[in-house]
């Protein structure tokens, strides 16, 4: 045993350059794996961290004020599952104007800078000064309506007087929930300010936030509260699960790409370790033959190589894990930026155990299998040939090249590329991974660009929306008919509906010039006018377990007197509620609500429209109750960071591929020194030797492009589609610029040539006599 350990140490020290390169590869692989696993394990981490820091309520109850009493509140707070409570909270729903837009908002009372339960996170500005007439705004509506610190909101008070309140801060409320419901934007003001604006406290809404001993027991607690009295006093409630979904849904696209990135990185890591370790062990067959000749058993040989590579792997994994942990906040940067927080994935023993199991485990497995294979080789042949027995027949491609009159150095290089198929396969696999990494990056980039240029693919088939408040639908439509620069519009009314099984979601009932809008259908077709046909978001289709052609019967939520059935004829990319919405003709929805009329209008604008003029037309004065909202970028700019990360991954994979080509070319050249010596003896000049060795690597590079591009595209498409389906978004059409292949080919060839150049030069300068004498 001591002899084996001595041999392990001696080998590691003797082959310092290769040991170093293998450690570098393992460091990179371990860092990538750590990064990928940490990202996947912490996708919800930024939200959970914030929620914990802010001591958020797990359940918010919104009461019907006239039906609730202080005694009821006390009874609820004393339930055994309730750990702590926000106490009674007041709010008031009203209209405000800000930045030329009119919004329906919920004014929420915030007493003191930081309450004990359910604090708010300050993203910008400061908290409310006590009793000052000022306001805080929740960051999601702040971003959506482009309101920032220093802006003002104008509120018409109970006496009809306009009061101007400065926005002094932007806050994140972890329970602001827009998932499967339409929550008005939250503005926070002091109780004193609310009293001055709307003195009649009977018109205020009541709500209560509860922290529960078991956060998963929300449904049970709600049921228990509802059963407390025969008269229904809980108007609605907000579950922290929904709020979390809502917060994360805003970074849905980032999640899709981030998950794809992580899965690809894990796959790449595993294949890299297998290919590098297997190919380097298999190149040492001559040494294995010598060891067998002096009495090493097959088990001892396996132990020797597994030991060597385990040492390298543990050193590399340790360093790579540390680097991965240091870089772990980067991929989640898009998520944390969006939530307005900072988040460092915590050190996790599970993560460490996974990384230290996967990388050294695969290393040991690959080294063990390769060593066993080597140990089975015939001793004489292993010593004489110095490698796994090569294929001893001429490769047909080489014969073809010779027939075509290719230079002999090219023919020989072509022949060498496949002389040891397993090693060629492993090196080719490594190069292919590099190609796939780049294809992955290019395809993601191109797809994002396509979606950026065509928001209809994301379900945003319009250029602007108009919201009406007091005006009638007929008046709003008349104004829009004559509005300058509006080519077409359709109206929408959203209804909260439920299935017979009690699943609730929002229904978009639309009418108008629908044909003018470029609705993108992922499957099936758009519904016909004046029919009970419907199109559905992928998320809802999957949630309800429906298929195209199925019928869906719905009622209004909480009112099952009227039922309407629709036939599903198409799937569209629904941008809201994880795809869990349905769109129907407004006329068909009148069966649910006879008074349903649009309150939101989606506009198609003329190219180059003067939006200032349009806004002035729709909102001519402060009394106007139509609000124009122009569509912002459909894809958040934070996704660009993700593109960078993906290209970085491609770059890392290419770097690993160069190292792998170098290692395998060096080892392959060492193995075939005799052949190089013979060829030089019979007159092969140095440049021909370089050409021959470069050709062998170049052929693998060429094949890796031919294989890597389609496989990379298929993988990218498969991953994106699977993930986007999982997030309820539906089919993602991957686009890829075919011209990229023409750039990819010379790039990969260059990488192959760079990786094999040093071994080739070394072979070209090798003294022939030394080779022939060593034979």
């Amino acid at each position: 045993m001591r002899a084996i350990w001595q041999k392990i140490i001696a080998d590691l020290l003797r082959r310092r350059a290769i040991s170093f390169l293998i450690i570098c590869t393992i460091i990179t692989a371990a860092a990538l794996l750590t990064l990928a696993l940490s990202t996947l394990m912490n996708l919800g981490g930024p939200y959970d961290k914030l929620s914990s820091e802010l001591n958020s309520a797990h359940l918010w109850l919104h009461f019907t004020p006239e039906r609730i009493s202080s005694t009821d509140i006390s009874r609820i707070e004393s339930l055994p599952e309730v750990v702590s409570s926000t106490g009674r909270q007041y709010s008031y729903n009203t209209l405000v104007r800000t930045g030329g837009e009119r919004l329906g908002v919920s004014l929420r009372v915030l007493n003191g800078e930081q309450p004990e339960v359910h604090r708010l996170m300050l993203a910008d500005g400061r908290y409310l000064a006590s009793d000052a007439e000022e306001v805080l705004i929740e960051q999601y509506p702040a971003g959506f309506y482009q309101v920032s610190v220093g802006d003002t909101v104008i509120i018409t008070d109970a006496d009809g007087k306009e009061v101007e309140l400065p926005v002094v801060g932007v806050v994140f409320d972890p329970m602001y929930d827009t998932y499967r419901n339409s929550q008005p934007p939250y503005l926070f003001i002091s109780e004193e300010t609310l009293r001055r604006l709307f003195p009649d406290k009977d018109t205020w809404n009541w709500s209560l936030g509860l922290r529960l001993a078991d956060p998963e027991s929300v449904d049970e607690v709600v049921a228990e509260i509802k059963s407390m009295r025969s008269l229904e006093f809980v108007e609605s409630h907000t579950d922290w699960h929904d709020a979390k979904e809502s917060a994360l849904f805003r970074v849905q696209l980032t999640f899709i790409f981030l998950s794809a990135f992580s899965l690809f990185a894990i796959l790449a890591t595993v294949l890299i370790v297998i290919s590098v370790v297997s190919s380097t062990v298999l190149s040492q067959i001559r040494q294995i033959g010598v060891l067998k000749a002096i009495g090493f058993t097959g088990r001892q040989i396996s132990f020797l190589y597994v030991g060597q590579y385990t040492i390298l792997s543990l050193v590399g994994t340790g360093l790579g894990f540390a680097i991965g942990l240091a870089l772990a906040p980067l991929p989640l940067g898009a998520v944390t930026t969006s939530l307005g927080t900072n988040f460092r994935p915590p050190f996790s023993f599970t993560l460490m155990a996974l990384v230290f199991s996967i990388i050294p485990g695969i290393t040991m497995l690959a080294a063990g299998i390769a060593a066993r294979r080597g140990a089975k080789a015939n001793i004489i042949k292993a010593i004489a040939v110095g490698a796994e027995a090569p294929i001893r027949k001429t490769f047909w491609g080489a014969r073809l090249a010779e027939w075509l009159g290719a230079p002999m150095s090219l023919v020989l290089g072509l022949n060498d590329a496949f002389v040891r198929p397993l090693r060629s396969l492993l090196t080719g696999l490594n190069l292919t991974l590099g190609v796939m990494g780049i294809v992955f990056g290019l395809a993601l980039s191109s797809t994002l660009q396509t979606y950026r240029e065509n928001p209809a693919l994301l379900g945003v088939a319009y250029d602007a929306t108009v919201i009406r408040q007091e005006s009638t639908d007929a008046r709003a439509q008349r104004i829009l008919d004559q509005a300058p620069g509006v080519d077409a519009f359709y109206g929408e009314m959203q209804l909260q509906v439920q299935t017979r099984n009690g699943q609730t979601f929002q229904l978009r009932a639309v009418e108008g010039d629908l044909a003018a809008f470029p609705f993108h259908m992922a499957e099936g077709r758009f519904f016909q006018p004046d029919t009970n046909e419907a199109i559905i978001g992928r998320g809802l289709l999957d949630w309800l377990g429906l298929q195209l052609g199925d019928s869906l019967t719905l009622t209004l939520e909480g009112d099952d007197r009227h039922e309407v059935s629709w036939t599903i004829v198409g799937v569209y990319p629904e941008p809201a509620d994880a795809g869990q919405r349905i769109m129907v003709n407004l006329s068909s929805a009148s069966g649910l609500d006879r008074h349903a009329v649009p309150d939101v209008y989606y506009l198609k604008l003329s190219p180059g429209v003067d939006t200032v003029k349009l806004r002035a037309y729709l909102e001519p004065n402060q009394e106007s109750d139509l609000s124009l909202i122009l569509v912002d970028e459909a894809i958040p700019s934070s996704v660009i960071y993700l593109q960078l990360a993906v290209f970085m991954l491609g770059g890392i994979l290419i770097g690993i591929a160069v190292v792998n080509v170098f290692i395998t070319s060096l080892l392959a050249t060492q193995e075939k020194l005799r052949v190089v010596g013979i060829l030089k003896t019979v007159g092969m000049v140095p440049v021909q030797v370089v050409t021959m060795i470069n050709t062998a690597a170049g052929v693998l590079g060429l094949l890796s492009v031919l294989v890597g591009v389609p496989v990379g595209l298929a993988l990218t498409g498969g991953m994106l589609t699977a993930l986007s389906n999982a997030y309820g978004f539906g089919q993602v059409s991957v686009s890829f610029d075919p011209w990229a292949v023409t750039l990819l080919l010379p790039l990969i060839l260059a990488i192959s040539l760079v990786g094999s150049y040093i071994p080739a030069r070394w072979a070209a300068k090798l003294p022939i006599v030394r080779v022939l004498r060593e034979e």
Binding site: R392, N415, I678, T681, V682, G683, V685, P686, I768
Partner: protein, 241 residues
């Protein structure tokens, strides 16, 4: 008559760390066109080193080597490769064929390293394989042939470019006596047609076929005698020990 090969005061010293070894310590010799010269000596005496330097496989530490009109001791790596390809044919003890190329491809290899000689090479390889009695083995691979057949392939390869000088390093060392005799017979036939041959050998029977035999010891040429009598050559070799 001008010598085809002129070697002047050739010295070759190998240094590995602090160890210094003088393989050749001042060898001078001339080989005329059409000569068949054998070099004999014990292992480590310097005979293979001399052969390698004359063939341009190695470079001398000092001294000069002329082959034909070319002085090869000062050639660059590329010039030496082109020189070997055009002027020298090599036959080795272990054949040194490329395993995964066919017999015909092995033979044609030196010719095809120069572009545009494909047709010529195919014709010449056909003639050589025919002459050496292995034309029916042309599409086989070296590992499918016997030792004697492989050495014939090596000889065919050595003659593909009509070399000025054939260098043979223990050409029968890895063959049974019958195959060895056949190989020597082939070499003698080529020599009879004017081919100049320099052969290193341990075997007195092989050296006996040469026109004259050079004896080398500790890096110096110490004796020479005509070929022909195997017993005398063997005795002279014993005397030199």
């Amino acid at each position: 008559m001008t010598a085809l090969v002129q070697v002047q005061d050739l010295k070759k010293t190998y240094e590995t760390g602090s160890v210094r070894f003088e393989a050749l310590r001042g060898v001078s010799l001339d080989i005329a066109q059409g000569d068949f010269v054998a070099i004999m000596g014990e292992s480590g005496s310097g005979k293979s080193t001399l052969l390698h330097i004359v063939g341009g496989l190695d470079t001398p530490t000092t001294g000069s080597v002329m082959v034909g009109a070319q002085r090869i001791d000062s050639m660059s790596e590329t010039e030496l490769a082109v020189f070997r390809r055009a002027e020298i044919g090599f036959v080795f003890q272990f054949f040194n064929l490329v395993e995964n190329l066919s017999v015909r491809a092995n033979v044609e290899l030196p010719a095809l390293l120069e572009q545009g000689k494909k047709k010529e090479a195919r014709q010449r390889s056909g003639e050589l394989l025919e002459r050496l009695g292995i034309a029916n083995q042309a599409d086989k691979h070296p590992w499918e042939l016997s030792g004697g057949q492989q050495q014939r392939v090596a000889i065919a390869r050595a003659f593909i470019n009509n070399p000025t000088l054939l260098l043979a390093d223990e050409p029968t060392g890895n063959l049974d006596s019958t195959s060895g005799d056949e190989v020597l017979s082939i070499l003698r036939d080529f020599n009879a047609q004017g081919q100049t041959i320099l052969m290193v050998t341990h075997a007195a029977s092989a050296a006996a076929l040469a026109k004259y035999v050079l004896f080398i010891r500790d890096g110096l040429l110490v004796d020479q005698m005509p070929g022909g009598d195997e017993k005398t050559i063997a005795q002279r070799l014993l005397d030199l020990r």
